[in-house]
Symmetry: C3
Subunit: 269 residues, 3 copies
């Protein structure tokens, strides 16, 4: 397997042409910014969480994104109902276990979602991914600065447990799927000072999964596009405030040439 | 009836002078951006949804805006309580039936609000407006790209059913009220790539209704100002990220000259 | 007591070095923008409200910020649980009584929080602070334009009642603590046209309280940094849209020289 700039560009074009509906059950903090990122790349975001309408809303969607950033019992019920409907319709499910490991409510909810309605893609940082592992004890000592080897090892374990494509974000992003490891070295450090760009990456995974059949490839494309737009945006920004908007502008204007020039992707085993 | 640039400018000045309190029960996605738009035009936004405080909050407001973008049973109860209080105080009610037609929960809620606490202005796209019609079957086949004739016909029907001023957004915006049809041709295609600008238009309808007695005129003024600020903002923007802020700046700096130069409004029957 | 530019700068540096976790239970409108402000100054925001996880989340925090801007019974329960956990861990609590005085639900909730789980810092405008006073009747007639003398008098009374450092925002900000009055004259009028900058000030109080032992000093540092970043941002902005991002950029880039050049702080009794 190999992912070229031309593959990534084809996926971007497919999103722009099909404008896939991506249904998000996501946290309050990032609803606006992730909807804007989905619109900027060319997708059609729906943000809806009412239990009463989950099946119907999933019924018009091409991907479902579940993000546990701000939980409550009612929302957890909606997440399960939506994920069941998504499985019945065979549309891809993306899970972002925000804060798993930080509180047992989050860890428990994320694990249960994984078990009952297995996602196609899981995207988190190293500590969140570690918290999902049945085989690990506690999350202490592992965070987003985990060494690459440790992160890859975590991803492999989680992939073996649940068969989802596992994407671990950090300075380098790792995606572990059926055909090995994909490493993406795009991005800019200033992105860590904008709230919700991790959640945005997850939302974009939904958009790319709607047009790309292999979940690991979809996740890698999403991370590459995130990183490239972040690099373009950061080059024009004096701080994280302006980065927010230049990032969206870069997603909107992203060209084959941008991807060709900036893509840093590498396949491993 | 005729609406001139000078009428629109007088309404903007009235908002800036009186800073009317506009109470919004709106969706999570757009709370921040609609509050900022109301502040930028000169109004005083209140975003409050707790059932416990609806009567008191409506008690200090000059207009009520109800947006069903992210529903839950508790919020629906608050919407009814607030709307009843608004009717008792005779302040204008604006309804945005976001997603009506997409799920039966939304369609049902929007119709019930229309019936029990009739709004003064309804603003939506063609498919949402169609979903509100008692006389239509399903919403399939009608969307924001509906032909002008079809859109106007929908608006007429809904206005006949509920007597609210009906505003249908699209490339051209149509407002159908007691004295005929108003067409507004302002706006920019890039606005469709920013989340919540439809909801912002609805919120501005609230601000203009607070200072303009005829609901159809208020809606038309709001749509014209939205479109003009969008045109000014888009001319300075490289994408939807920067458009967000240039749009707010344009609302804030809007002048009689801007309106005079850009207004594209037309009356029909 | 005296607060110099060098003190403010030391606090900023401490935040950037320690990246204290600030746990926010705040309103829907400002979650995104306050998280971004905390990230821009160098802190680590957590936005979480589920009753199920309050103790654990407070357990990793260095400060707790409670903002009653959008209440519901479930959130009020979480506020009390979080505040009790914060008191048990002896981390600072900051309370923003948004809209106290506007509805009795807000006034009652804010007063009860004050009484049951006394905050270390209370930040609001003059009418909100007045609503918290047991000794006052109704809030009518006092608003953010209250005269300086009236505002200081209110702050003194509330400080005497609850012993929290009381910060009253307005054109001049007043902080009343154990050692007298601090007046901060930084800021820019355009900041009043951006939603949630008051809530952002409160969130920054949390970040500064995490690294500064005296709550009144922490509040004064936060208000000074807010105002200075607002002045720097406004000088580069054509309206409140661009101010949002230039303000965040200014927080991110804030230097000792900026503070030295712009700080307008004054001690009284």
């Amino acid at each position: 397997m190999n992912i070229t700039a031309s593959d990534v560009w084809s996926a971007v074009r497919a999103i722009r042409e099909k404008a896939p509906v991506v249904h998000n059950i996501t946290n309050y903090v990032v609803m606006n910014s992730t909807a804007n990122a989905l619109l900027a790349i060319g997708a059609s975001p729906v943000m809806a969480h009412a239990e009463e309408e989950m099946e119907e809303m999933v019924g018009i969607a091409s991907a479902l994104v579940i993000n546990i950033g701000t939980l409550s019992p009612a929302w957890v019920r909606s997440m399960f109902r939506a994920a069941e409907a998504a499985r019945a319709r065979k549309i891809p499910i993306v899970l972002d276990p925000v804060g798993a490991g930080a509180t047992s409510y989050r860890t428990r909810t994320a694990r249960e979602l994984m078990r009952v309605v297995p996602p196609d893609i899981i995207r988190g940082n190293a500590s969140e991914v570690m918290a999902l592992l049945e085989t690990s004890g506690r999350t202490k000592g592992v965070d987003s600065t985990a060494s690459s080897d440790a992160a890859v090892e975590l991803g492999r374990k989680l992939h073996a447990e649940c068969s989802a494509a596992v994407c671990i974000s950090g300075e380098t992003d790792y995606v572990i799927g059926n055909t090995g490891i994909i490493k993406i070295r795009n991005g800019h450090f200033m992105m860590t000072r904008v709230t919700g760009l991790g959640c945005t990456a997850t939302a974009l995974c939904g958009a790319f999964a709607a047009v790309t059949s292999d979940p690991a490839v979809a996740a890698a494309e999403a991370m590459a596009v995130m990183g490239i737009a972040g690099e373009i945006g950061a080059a024009r920004s004096e701080g994280p405030g302006s980065l927010q908007l230049h990032f969206l502008d870069a997603l909107y204007r992203l060209s084959a040439e941008d991807i060709e020039r900036l893509l840093k992707i590498e396949m491993g085993e």
